[in-house]
């Protein structure tokens, strides 16, 4: 599946779009972190919560949890949300 990478994370991926796989959002982010070490902790805290100013959409639906199932046909979009000045 396609994972859209926001500008804030491109120092890790050096790409705006990464091809990834996994059965759940959490599994996809684990794979991303294996390939781009450190990325996951910048967007997911140590309690597996999505950080306050990060939004993750699966297709057009915003997700709140890492357990959400995904398929290869889905598109995951990580977004740096509004975070003040």
């Amino acid at each position: 599946m396609n994972v859209m990478i926001p500008s804030q994370l491109r120092s890790y991926t050096h790409a705006s779009r990464v091809e990834c796989s996994g059965d759940t959002l959490g599994a996809v982010l684990d794979e991303l972190d294996r390939r781009f070490p450190g990325l996951r902790f910048r967007i997911i805290d140590e309690q597996d919560r999505i950080r306050q100013h990060i939004h993750i959409f699966i297709n057009k639906e915003m997700t709140l949890g890492l357990h959400q199932p995904v398929t290869d046909a889905d598109e995951i979009r990580i977004i740096g949300a509004l975070s003040g000045g």
């Binding site: 902790f41 597996d48 919560r49 950080r51 740096g80």
Partner: protein, 385 residues
């Protein structure tokens, strides 16, 4: 022929400047008259603290987060030209049930370990937590004796009661005679002491006021803003507290409010406190307005450093060169420090993005740089030549 004293090079004093929008480096000439700004490092990152390992003179650590991304620690071994992220930054243990535990919001302070423990660093976080690295900041583990202490939440209060910006562990002081003897300052919580390298802690707040608590003589729950022990006389402790300026002689075990000797119309509220590394009686503070609704700016718009040369019995204003009026800035707790040169250089960074310096121990002040983002930390360092 001797080299000109205006040369900017390693071995001279540099200032590590942590700001709300990145890190900077101010390098000085031999005589500290000329200053050259380098950076920014990680423009846009919130840099709460940046330090140099004084034991090797080249390892830099930077505590950073961003408006969007979670907290991490970056390291540099080439004076900030390149930065590498810690592989395991400070993080609390994962809690059960899922999602109920604490998460580090940001690393608030960084500290080198004892001189006999090369590669050891400590980090203080918000929420209040203490972390230790034994590999020069590559990986970090919680100090369980504090973070998992059953009294921790009692000491620091419920997370909902944290001060604006979150509470933070801002000060860690290690007894130069004994790496197991440590003090920490937590806002909120107070001062705590460990005699066994962090395995157990005891509150050390007797004598310190806490006018925001129902029991003003509580054992904990206080709000130190900065805690320092003297490097040559480590049983002499000072703190700039939310409720004034205090000194303790450790054998007494009791804080004495030396700030009550400050001019009444200035008061003794502030964030930083700076000690003379050669003289335990000499201390500098930067008062701010703590009246009525707590503007936290320079009292009456007249910024001034105050010095005591007798352990807080008397205080003298040092304001030559600073704005005489309409100077409404704040100096945060990590943003004022001294170098170790003779005469001593003292530097502070403001919420308005200016770095001020004095190379004659505060007698005259000069603006070294302007227009930086809000300054969170100033660390005078000397890179190994």
């Amino acid at each position: 022929m001797s080299k000109p004293k205006t040369a900017i090079k390693d071995g001279n004093v540099s200032l590590l400047v942590g700001t709300r929008k990145g890190g900077f480096l101010l390098r000085s000439s031999d005589n500290r008259e000329k200053w050259k700004l380098e950076g920014p490092f990680l423009l846009g990152a919130i840099v709460h603290n940046m330090i140099l390992d004084p034991r090797d003179g080249h390892t830099l650590l930077m505590a950073a987060s961003t408006g969007h991304l979670g907290p991490t620690i970056f390291r540099s071994n080439d004076q900030g030209h390149t930065w590498k992220e810690a592989t395991r930054p400070p993080a609390f243990p994962k809690a059960e049930p899922e999602g109920t535990g604490e998460a580090v919001n940001h690393t608030f302070s960084l500290w080198p370990g004892h001189v006999d423990e090369p590669g050891v660093f400590y980090a203080g976080t918000s929420p209040v937590g203490l972390f230790r690295s034994e590999d020069s900041g590559e990986t970090w583990d919680g100090v369980a004796g504090f973070n998992e202490n059953p009294m921790r939440r009692t000491w620091i209060g419920p997370i909902e009661f944290a001060p604006p910006g979150g509470g933070g562990l801002h000060s860690l002081q290690i007894d130069p005679r004994d790496p197991a003897h440590m003090y920490i300052g937590c806002s909120m919580g107070g001062v705590f002491e460990s005699l066994d390298q962090g395995r157990s802690w005891q509150p050390l707040n007797k004598g310190c006021e806490a006018d925001f608590l129902p029991d003003p003589e509580a054992d904990f729950g206080h709000d130190p803003h900065t805690l320092r022990i003297h490097p040559l006389y480590p049983d002499v402790l000072y703190q700039q507290n939310h409720c004034g300026i205090y000194r303790m002689d450790r054998e007494d075990g009791y804080w004495v409010r030396i700030g009550s000797n400050m001019p009444e119309d200035v008061g003794d509220i502030g964030f930083p406190i700076v000690l003379d590394p050669r003289d335990p009686q000499r201390v500098w503070v930067f008062p701010m307005d703590g009246t009525e609704i707590w503007p936290r700016t320079s009292p009456k718009g007249k910024p001034a450093v105050y010095v005591s040369t007798n352990g807080g019995k008397n205080w003298e204003s040092l304001h030559k060169g600073l704005p005489a009026r309409h100077g409404y800035f704040t100096v945060k707790r990590h943003a004022m420090n001294a170098d170790r040169q003779a005469p001593l250089g003292i530097y502070f960074g403001t919420s308005a993005g200016q770095v001020w310096g004095s190379v004659d121990e505060g007698k005259r002040w000069r603006k070294l740089v302007d227009y930086l983002p809000e300054i969170y930390s100033i660390e005078p360092v000397v890179f190994a030549a």
